[in-house]
Symmetry: C2
Subunit: 337 residues, 2 copies
Amino acid sequence: MTKIKVLSKSNIKKIINLKMAIKAVEEAYKQKSDNKGEVWPLVFYEYEHNVFDLDIRSGNLKDSNAYGLKMISYNENNSKISIPVINATALIFNDRTGEPLALLNAETITSYRTGAAAAIGAKLLARKNSKTLLIVGSGNVAKYSTAATLLLFPKIENVYIYNSKRILEKKELSQFKKEVESLLKESNSSLTAKMNSVKDIKEITAMSDIIITATPSEKALIKEEWVKTGTHFSCMGAGTPGKQEIDERLFTKARFFADDQKQCFDQGEAQYAYKNGLISSFDGEIGDLLTNKIEGRTSDSDITIFDSTGLFLQDLAMSLELIDESNKKNIGTEIDL
Amino acid sequence: MTKIKVLSKSNIKKIINLKMAIKAVEEAYKQKSDNKGEVWPLVFYEYEHNVFDLDIRSGNLKDSNAYGLKMISYNENNSKISIPVINATALIFNDRTGEPLALLNAETITSYRTGAAAAIGAKLLARKNSKTLLIVGSGNVAKYSTAATLLLFPKIENVYIYNSKRILEKKELSQFKKEVESLLKESNSSLTAKMNSVKDIKEITAMSDIIITATPSEKALIKEEWVKTGTHFSCMGAGTPGKQEIDERLFTKARFFADDQKQCFDQGEAQYAYKNGLISSFDGEIGDLLTNKIEGRTSDSDITIFDSTGLFLQDLAMSLELIDESNKKNIGTEIDL
């Protein structure tokens, strides 16, 4: 008989915040850089293309003495029957014995760790004096990425939100703002930047210091010729074959960093640039920046790209933080297994 | 918020039995044969060769509207600290929505489904009038395989148990017998066969109608020239590269059936025969026998081999049976996730 901890979605909502997520995700990236965090092969299965698919991501963090997996599914049909479109469940194990440690609803974790990754990319690669942030996309990933980036760049003055289908309505913009405010509040911060909806993406691209892409797009939404020197991109949307958000020609002149080289080349934002031989400079993995093994931005005129495909190691590090925190606060359920 | 069912090891022990396991495993094999059950790629990771490794097996059963995964680890070091050497945890999902349905301790399930597979192989391929059963191995898989086979072959008169390291002591034989009796009792059956320990494996091989191999051996324990015509083999021990229990030359003259063709060729009992081009007749998958797509034994003189590498589909079908049964009997815990 083993005892394991169960953390439900509502348990997790009580203790999770973006500050914790940023710390955990940096820890995951660092361990990966030090060969202590390994990404195991992805299992992917489609019930219906672009409607219902799932993947199993797994890996370990040796310095944290843990390994685990996450089953995440996307089912568009659920929206018709008031069931979450995304379901995510994580199982965490003790790497000294192999015993299960915890079961977590990983849906919220996925949002926080993805937002944290976007912000870490910007922190490590964008110009320190960045004032203008363009968010391509207006969904969940966009909201979490905005809040996490504002947390690390409190001097950003303007956030521009772009919805690729139509200009964001006032009501939607206000809802976006409200959610970002609430995410910042959880980390004892507050919103000072002005939130704007984008009318002309070309014009705003040319004005932006940081651009975060967070859509399920399958074609480039940002053209190479619109981008000014010095711009940083955190590309969050691409993580499966066929996805693309920015012009592949940007890779011919940008310094380019991956969360995982293989994943980015195979199924990340870089996939088309890689296939077409357009990557002029692959500069390493994001973790290697955190462990000071490689150099990031070298001048104010560099264009930098962080391609984030999403690693289970991020979920694992967050899960471990949440387990610790829940133990301290006596949150969650212990069950016999 | 999702509600899921948790079935602990002790919950499962109250409702599981070999009759249920045989029914579930046949259902899994049948769905696989009808292209309703799919085996997804295996994730395998070794912390220390032959000491601590783990795998993630996954797949779906479309006619049962479910998919899932099992994390199973083997850690020899655990025996020194009184923790189970094998830890297995299964997560089951609803294939209409992607929502998690249940979390199960899968250790017991693994034993029952493996024993059931050995017996199903014998039921479909061994001579109906089989009287003598040789069990190579004396551990857990050996016990469950013996009990399941006796359940389906009540006319077996003698069971011979072979321990490759030394002749089984009286005390061990009596313990083996006790456990088999208890497994038979769970399925409302009783032990009538005589249980013997093997002194001379060559002599007993030549007398046996059914031979079940259930060891972690990495070299053949049964020589080709010892085997009489008409013998059936259920090979349970090999499921990872490097394992072998029977002489690969047996494949030159046997009719050979797999639980999964690819898995058997890559990492099953057949791996060496396959590599060396010794398979004279690959006759199909076990599920195709159950759905009458192929022919099994054609005469009393056939030597038949069933190579069982173990499929998650077996665990999945068993898990679904256990969830149903636990709901009827009000066993287990419902938790919010």
